[in-house]
């Protein structure tokens, strides 16, 4: 754990907010719109983790412009699913990621996930990795992924969004609950 200190949060996840621009590009170029759903995926833990969860829920309840629900998956992750516009979703994700960080659970945060709908090619996600502070696309199609579509999203966004260059790190998240 000592070694990991330095890698904590640096630029206060500025890169997350680059989505403001990027989601306009997706709309213009792909006819793809933010579905209004985003989520923070956090590994469940013990001890003060519960109070971190309570704090996060408390924050979300207090925010009038977002709705939320919490789900658990079979891998032992909690999904804080936010319903809101893109700005609200970014702010909410950032705030609850902050909450978990303050309680010492930065390492438990798996990813932020934003859902989009493309008119022609259906649902895809932008996954934000909290370790590398980078995004990558994920376009599931049944039990496979539409790599061609993902490559297209990547090349559309790579100048606007900090994107993960190394495709070996584009890990899928199957069965995203929204």
């Amino acid at each position: 754990m000592i070694l990991r200190r330095g890698r904590g949060r640096k630029d206060k996840d500025v890169s997350l907010f680059a989505l403001t621009q990027a989601h306009i590009t997706l709309d213009v170029k792909l006819n793809a719109r933010f579905t209004g759903s985003a989520a923070l995926c956090v590994k469940e833990s013990t001890g003060v983790f519960d109070s971190a969860v309570e704090d996060a829920k408390g924050f979300l309840e207090a925010s009038s412009d977002v709705s939320y629900r919490v789900e658990r998956d079979r891998y032992g992750y909690m999904w804080f699913i936010i319903g809101s516009g893109i700005e609200g979703a970014m702010a909410a994700l950032d705030a609850i990621a902050d909450t978990f960080t303050e309680h010492g659970f930065r390492e438990q945060i798996l990813a932020g996930v934003f859902a989009f709908n493309s008119e022609r090619r259906g649902r895809f996600y932008l996954i934000y990795n909290y370790r590398s502070n980078r995004f990558y696309p994920f376009a599931p199609s049944s039990r496979d992924r539409d790599v061609e579509f993902e490559m297209l999203i990547y090349s559309l966004l790579k100048d606007e969004l900090p994107m993960e260059k190394d495709r070996a790190r584009w890990y899928p998240i199957w069965d995203i609950p929204f």
Partner: protein
């Protein structure tokens, strides 16, 4: 796991072609050098050289088919393949080339032929198995672009120049100095200069063919209207597709729980395996083209 199967690089077909043409060129050179040595004049030599090159050009498709083991196939044998070619040539306004198949698991394709009329498009059985119809169409469109742009002719022309340059040097040293002065010194110098000439022309030919690849990518993509199809075909052929993980992020996270090495040493691994920066570059350009089409 079967995912690693595609990693075997396709050196086979290219190597056989290169070897075949290299052996032919060396034979010409030896033959012409012998003639030069026994005192045949420069003008007949140039004619002979030109004759060889023209013959090689005229027979190129046969040489290529023979050295790659590609077999011309009929519409009954490969209806799907023929249908794709038919659709594309109709759209491109090209005469239909002959269609050939190579029976190997290595995914590859090539086009050859003297002109637009007598060309051959060949694909391997491995390619047909690996790609879906749209991707196969992307690859064949690329090969048709080579035919349309007369790339075989372009490369042959380029090698004619390099051969002529080679001879000028060679003959110059033999003719002017070789016999009257110190034989050994002149010979060494001739060999060095010939080597430099060959090397430079080798670089030039490579540059030309690399450039022609990009052009064929672009024209092929314009023909299908879908650059990303060729891009994903290239990803599959080069094995790059295998690098896109299918394991769930949550599974991977639990595997290396302490993250001393951040989630799999993807960087080092990929650097070791990505011996093909040109493919990366081609895919990048194709996807950029696709992006501008939206």
């Amino acid at each position: 796991m079967q995912r690693y199967e595609w990693k075997k690089r396709d050196v086979g077909i290219t190597m056989r072609l290169v070897l075949c043409f290299a052996v032919l060129s060396i034979l010409y050179l030896i033959f012409l050098s012998v003639l030069a040595y026994v005192g045949v004049g420069m003008v007949p030599l140039i004619f002979l050289g030109a004759f060889f090159i023209i013959m090689q050009y005229l027979l190129s498709d046969r040489i290529v088919l023979w050295s790659t083991g590609a077999k011309i196939v009929s519409e009954q044998q490969y209806p799907r393949l023929h249908a794709i070619v038919d659709r594309l040539v109709a759209r491109a306004g090209l005469p239909k080339p002959r269609v050939a198949v190579m029976y190997t698991d290595v995914p590859n394709a090539f086009a050859t032929g003297k002109g637009r009329r007598s060309s051959v498009v060949a694909v391997t059985t491995g390619l047909m198995r690996l790609l879906n119809d749209e991707e196969l169409e992307g690859v064949i469109a690329h090969e048709l672009a080579h035919i349309k742009n007369r790339d075989v002719l372009a490369i042959t022309l380029a090698s004619i120049f390099s051969t002529i340059a080679w001879y000028m040097m060679h003959y110059g040293w033999y003719g002017a100095y070789g016999r009257s002065r110190d034989q050994a010194g002149g010979l060494i110098l001739a060999i060095i200069i010939a080597a430099i000439t060959w090397f430079v022309s080798f670089l030039i030919i490579r540059a030309i063919s690399r450039y022609r690849e990009f052009i064929a990518d672009r024209d092929g993509a314009l023909l299908t209207g879908k650059p990303s199809r060729l891009a994903s075909a290239l990803m599959k052929i080069s094995g790059m597709m295998n690098r896109i993980p299918s394991r769930d992020l949550r599974e991977v996270e639990s595997m290396n729980a302490f993250f001393i090495i951040p989630a799999l040493s993807g960087d080092t691994l990929s650097r070791l395996f990505s011996t093909h920066p040109p493919v990366e570059e081609r895919i990048r350009r194709l996807m950029e083209m696709e992006a501008t089409m939206h």
